[in-house]
C-alpha cells in the first residue's frame, strides 16, 4: 500500500474525528452551562444531582462511559443499537465534557466579585441583563485558558471513540497498521493530531487576544 492510499483511507477517519470534536463542543459547552447553574442552584436536590453528575463523570474513565452509553439501551431495554454507534459516541463525549466545562464555568462565575452584581442591581439591571452583559463577558475571559486546555484534551480524547469501533482516524490507522505491518499509519495519525491541536491553539489564541483589551 502506498503512502498516498494510506493517507486517502485515513482521511475519511480524519473527517469523522473532526466531526466528533465539533459536535462534542456544540453540545457539551451549553450543557455544561446548565450543569453549572444546577450545581450553583439554591435548591439542594438539584444542586446535589449536579454534584453527583460531575463527580461520576469526572471520576470514571471516559472509555467506560462510552461503553455504558452505547450498550445500556441494549442491556436495559433490549433495544437494537445497530445504528446508534455514532450517536453514542457524541452523547458519551458531550456528557463527559459537559461535566468538565461545568466546573470551569462555575469557577469562572464564582470568581466575579459580588460588587459587580451590586453595582448592576443599584443601576436597575435585571438579573438576566446582569448575567448576560456584566458577568458572562468577564467569565468568558477568565476561563479562556482552562477552556483551551480542555479543548486540546478533547482533540486527543476523540481517539477513545475506537472503544465503540467507530471508524475515526485512530481506529482506521490501527487497522491499516495491523494489515500492512507498517508503522506509517501511526505517524500519519500523530501528525494529524498534532496539526489539529496547533490549529486549535492558534484559534484559541485569537480569542484570547480579542478579549485582552481590558484587564
Amino acid at each position: 500500500m502506498t503512502f498516498a492510499t494510506m493517507l486517502e483511507q485515513m482521511s475519511t477517519g480524519m473527517l469523522r474525528t473532526v466531526g466528533i470534536f465539533v459536535l462534542t463542543l456544540i453540545f457539551s459547552m451549553p450543557l455544561g452551562m446548565l450543569v453549572a447553574f444546577a450545581r450553583m442552584s439554591k435548591n439542594r436536590i438539584i444542586k446535589n444531582i449536579a454534584r453527583i453528575y460531575i463527580s461520576v463523570l469526572r471520576g470514571t474513565p471516559l472509555m467506560l462511559q462510552l461503553l455504558v452509553v452505547y450498550f445500556a439501551p441494549f442491556y436495559i431495554w433490549g433495544a437494537n443499537i445497530g445504528g446508534y454507534r455514532f450517536a453514542a459516541v457524541i452523547i458519551g463525549f458531550a456528557l463527559n465534557y459537559a461535566a468538565y466545562f461545568a466546573e470551569i464555568y462555575r469557577g469562572g462565575i464564582e470568581s466575579i466579585p459580588k460588587g459587580q452584581y451590586e453595582a448592576a442591581a443599584v443601576l436597575g439591571y435585571t438579573k438576566s441583563q446582569t448575567f448576560m452583559r456584566i458577568v458572562l463577558p468577564q467569565v468568558a475571559k477568565n476561563i479562556m485558558p482552562a477552556v483551551t486546555n480542555e479543548v486540546i484534551t478533547l482533540v486527543k480524547d476523540t481517539s477513545l471513540a475506537f472503544t465503540l469501533a467507530y471508524q475515526e482516524v485512530f481506529t482506521i490507522g490501527k487497522q491499516i497498521a495491523a494489515a500492512q505491518t507498517s508503522f506509517m499509519p501511526f505517524v500519519i495519525a500523530g501528525v494529524f493530531y498534532y496539526i489539529a491541536n496547533a490549529v486549535v491553539a492558534f484559534v484559541m489564541e485569537i480569542f484570547e487576544k480579542k478579549m485582552n483589551y481590558y484587564r
Partner: protein, 251 residues
Amino acid sequence: MKILEINNCKKQFGDLEVLKDISLSVEQGQVISIIGPSGSGKSTLLRCATLLETMDGGDLIYLGQYAAKDDGNGTAVYASDQELKQIRMNFGLVFQNFNLFPHYSVLKNIMEAPVLVQKRDKAEVKAEAMELLRKMGLEDKADAYPYQLSGGQQQRVSIARALAMKPNILFFDEPTSALDPELTGEILKVIRDLAAEKMTMVIVTHEMAFARDVSDHIIFMDGGVIVEQGDPQQIINDPKEERTKAFLSRF
C-alpha cells in the same frame, strides 16, 4: 420635600443585631454624613436603603412611596418587584471599591444603564455622559478602560455613572477609603461641588473635617444605633456623648 424616610429599621445577620431601630429622614438638597467606628452598621444601613439588603423591620420610603412598610409587628413588607424597580430609579450608590465594569470603556460604564434600563435616547445620554466627564475632569478618558485609570479617576467615573441615572439622592459608602491619601482630595472636591449644586446626599465617611464642612447634618452611629446626631459643628467640635467623644478623639 422629603426624599428619603427610614423608620425603625432593624437588621440582623443570624444572631448579630446590626441595626437596632434606626430612623432617618433626608430632605431635598440636604447633605447628611454618617460617621462611626468600623462594624457599627453604616454600610448595612446604606445597603438597606439601596435595596441591596432587606430590612427585617421598619419602613423605607422614597418620595412618599413605600419600598418597605412595617406591618406593625416589626416585620418589613416589601413592595412588588415592579414597584421596587421604579423606586430604585430614585437613588444611586457610590461604592468604596468603585465597582466599575472592567470590560466596558468609561463612556459605556456611564451610558449603558440610562440607555438599557431607563430606555433613554442614546445620543442624548451620550451628550450628558460627556458633560459629566467634563465636570469630572475626565473628558479625555471616555474611551479608556477602568484598569487604565488611577483609583481617584475610577471613583470619579463611578460617581458620573451614578449621576447619569439622574437620581434624586446619592449615597456614598466611604468613597475615599480605598484611595491613596493624595487622591482623596479630588473625590472630596467632586462631592463638595455636588453639594454646592444642592444634590441630595448621604455620605458615610471617615473624613471628619470634610463631613463637618460639607454636611447639613451629621449622624454618629455605634453598635447599630444612632448615638448622637445634629449640627456638624456641634457634633465634630463639641460632642455631647462619651462614645462620640471617644470616637472623635482618634482623629
